[in-house]
Symmetry: C3
Subunit: 358 residues, 3 copies
């Protein structure tokens, strides 16, 4: 179902985004792609000036660019104030969100008799639903998922293939969990008894708020006592480890391979870049940012950006790094001073000698 550039421009304007068409307003677009891969039936975009040269070579039928960006050759443009926001709107308009195949409740799934499942569910073959599980409406549970006894799942939840929810996990509405992620496994709770480790039963649970999305192959420990929580609107990438008893706030963004130890409290709208790590029992304030590979060992105040391992406030850490880069210069100056001082000693020695001669 293709649409013309003038129709797409009108759509963006209807969403409150000014849009000018340069070139053939009747050109028809069927889908969205990258500058590199797009064909004549596709629209692409240029948001990062780094890729501006690709305007010369792209085969795209049209390119969304920042207002004021001229066509470097005869081609179709959609000029907008914010190309990234505009292409997001166009992807949603043209492609929409993932559509889930209609499966119903497969006879090749295993569903406990005591489980309650709302209407509109697709439960795939080889999914397992335990005793006393309560599932809302319109959920999609893909093959190989295991929803253990007593879990509660809201409406419009999607569990992609091979997701595991341990007993008692609770998910809000519109939660999406990508393949292979495990929610509610025991944390590393062991007490030292001599040289051995005695297991501390992990009797808490996990609670995940509305509109949370978790990436693939993550692991979210259940609490030792009480709950591990991930509040509404928070989004995780892949391979993230959350320790037992953490409280993750609303609308956070965690990039791949982040690791958070146990009993950490994370505020709202916190960003953690890839491979950042946080030690246990500390607080990360609202709107804080942890840089990639940051190793955070103390509380992070609200709104601050932390960098490095051990992590420090970004200004301090950058000054530290800048000084490390000045070490060769400092070392050279030190040597020069040593030689100058030696020379001065000699000169003073001579001056003294001459004074004594006088």
């Amino acid at each position: 179902m293709s649409q013309t550039l003038s129709e797409l421009a009108a759509f963006l304007q209807s969403q409150g985004m000014p849009c000018e068409v340069v070139g053939d307003a009747c050109h028809a677009i069927g889908s969205v792609s990258t500058l590199e891969d797009a064909t004549a039936e596709q629209v692409s975009f240029l948001a990062n000036p780094k890729y501006e040269k690709m305007l010369m070579t792209t085969q795209a039928g049209a390119v969304v660019v920042r207002t004021g960006t001229p066509a470097p050759r005869p081609m179709n443009l959609l000029q907008v104030p914010d190309p990234y926001a505009a292409i997001t709107m166009l992807i949603i308009k043209i492609h929409g969100y993932r559509r889930h195949p209609r499966m119903g409740i497969s006879k090749m799934a295993w569903v406990a008799a005591s489980a309650t499942i709302g209407k509109g569910a697709n439960i795939w073959p080889f999914a397992t639903i335990g005793e006393n599980v309560v599932i809302g409406e319109n959920v999609n549970i893909y093959p190989g998922c295991f929803v253990a006894d007593g879990c509660r799942i809201g409406n419009d939840v999607v569990l992609m293939a091979n997701v595991v929810l341990y007993d008692g996990a609770a998910l809000g509405n519109r939660v999406t969990i990508h393949a292979g992620t495990v929610v509610g496994e025991d944390g590393l709770g062991f007490a030292p008894v001599g040289e051995k480790w005695e297991k501390i039963p992990q009797v808490g649970t996990v609670e995940i708020g509305d509109d949370v999305e978790l990436g693939a192959n993550c692991s979210i420990d259940r609490a030792t006592l009480g709950k591990t929580t991930i509040a509404r609107g928070t989004k995780f990438s892949n391979l993230i480890a959350i320790g037992h008893g953490c409280k993750i706030g609303e609308n956070c963004l965690l990039v791949a391979q982040v690791g958070i130890a146990g009993s950490v409290t994370v505020g709202n709208h916190v960003t953690m870049a890839g491979q950042a790590g946080v030690v246990g029992h500390i607080n990360i304030g609202d709107n804080a940012t942890l840089a990639a590979k940051a190793g955070v060992t103390h509380d992070v105040p609200t709104g601050e950006t932390y960098l490095g391992a051990p992590a420090a406030e970004i200004g301090q850490k950058k000054r530290e790094w800048a000084l490390i880069h000045k070490l060769p210069d400092m070392r050279q100056k030190l040597r020069k001073l040593e030689s100058l001082v030696e020379q001065l000693q000699q000169e003073i020695h001579e001056l003294k000698g001459r004074q004594n001669q006088d």
Copy 2:
């Protein structure tokens, strides 16, 4: 089945731990929770002084505290010498360990005719047990597990959902493996042939000792030759990668996202904190500790603590970090010295001039 505070105190005393009840010794407790979440029927604990203020606000029916800690308001306390050890005992007493649903050997599992399974097994739907597998008594194998040909599994083993054991893996007694963990996949064994990589068949196996517990979504490479081993009593958290041919000792504790390259020997009772990494072909001595995010590139002697990346002995690394923090001061002193020396040069020049005048 609730118990009174005096019954709980008597239990702790029977375990060798002195315990005083402050408040209502007849107060009934049904479960354990955190200071934050506990209700009047629950007991909680205060081990970390950081949370002491929460004694004022907790709704817990009783709190386990260190001997000598007074009640800041009318409330029930259990005073003990070691609150963390006491609450561990109480969790075990009141909640016990995970109970596994009675499933038997599901008809929806796939079990090879040549497999041998001990009595008391629960093998869930969608588990697959390969040829010539030998399984001990009272094992629990959850949905989606794949136990490949020739694996040997001891008594009282638990494989949570979607655990994969490659062919020939051997597990001792009382091993627990959390969901999604893979044991025995091929390591990164490739020989360079021109610009290409030729696969080296990975013909070794993996052997896991008694009482080992592995977290979720870990990966334990089989050995190229011989065995990768994890000795008895060792506990892993989640998302840990162990390279081919490693020998991990007894009673070690590995926190989430630790990575160990191939052919590393790790002693007994070693602790590795989160995201620590170890290069291949080195030795980590008994009782060594690797700090979070440590990047270990050389052998670590027995009992030492290593820090940083590249990692060094903790004292040395802390001195190094302290000096880096003194760089601004050093730079300032250097500048002051430069200016002083310049001034001295000038003064000496003048002294010389005046001497020559004399």
Copy 3:
């Protein structure tokens, strides 16, 4: 089917590798093992001089050593110019590659009617093959795999247990993916709308070239638009995260727990050691090497080795680290200079005083 040392030597020579037998050329060998584990019927090897002492203690029936290495005691040796290459050839000769059990297409798998499967396939119980999937010849799809709608899979592909391919993923020939790896999940594509994150539909796909091998529990994001690609011959270890829209070149080698953010271009024959991380939207040149735990924040030129976090060219980084190790010495010299300069000031003061007296 054992072979004598003279037969093995003849085999190596036929492969172009000179080989001398020391000891009993008629000794029979049935398999390959490590110096530590090998028995009299096994051949082992010594490539790393670090393990040379083990020649005294190994029970191996023969050891492959570098030409010129003498037997330290009566024992059998195969002397070759490159022991590592030789043992690789012997492992392939004696053990061969993994053999897959003959399963056919299990009735306990779920295969969509519209899927096309080439001859010779083994599709295990509890595997799920979606609509319009096209699968080549001689593939092995182990239990718990989910191949979503529209995937294309070449010949001789192996998906170990619980591998998930999201819709539209395309795999070349002879691709091997180890257990638990997820290909084609949504990347972390969210646009900020006030304090919330609006999901950007991830409408691209993933394309994996011939002869690629991926380790266990990895995650490869689908592209937002266009394709995430992993080119032919590239090998991954475990727990690796690849962001949306990355283009990974040919014959790369990525060690465990590497993480690459979105839209990164990686050249051919690049090596990334364990836990290395790469920020988004940069280029890593052909034949570049990233050291373990490197944190790469800028383009890496062709052929360079980068080290540290933030990463820099190896020579520069090593100089930087060397200078940090000289900080104690620099600080001491600085103190000595301060004291010397103070003394010189005093002496000059005295000289001036005496001049004035004159």
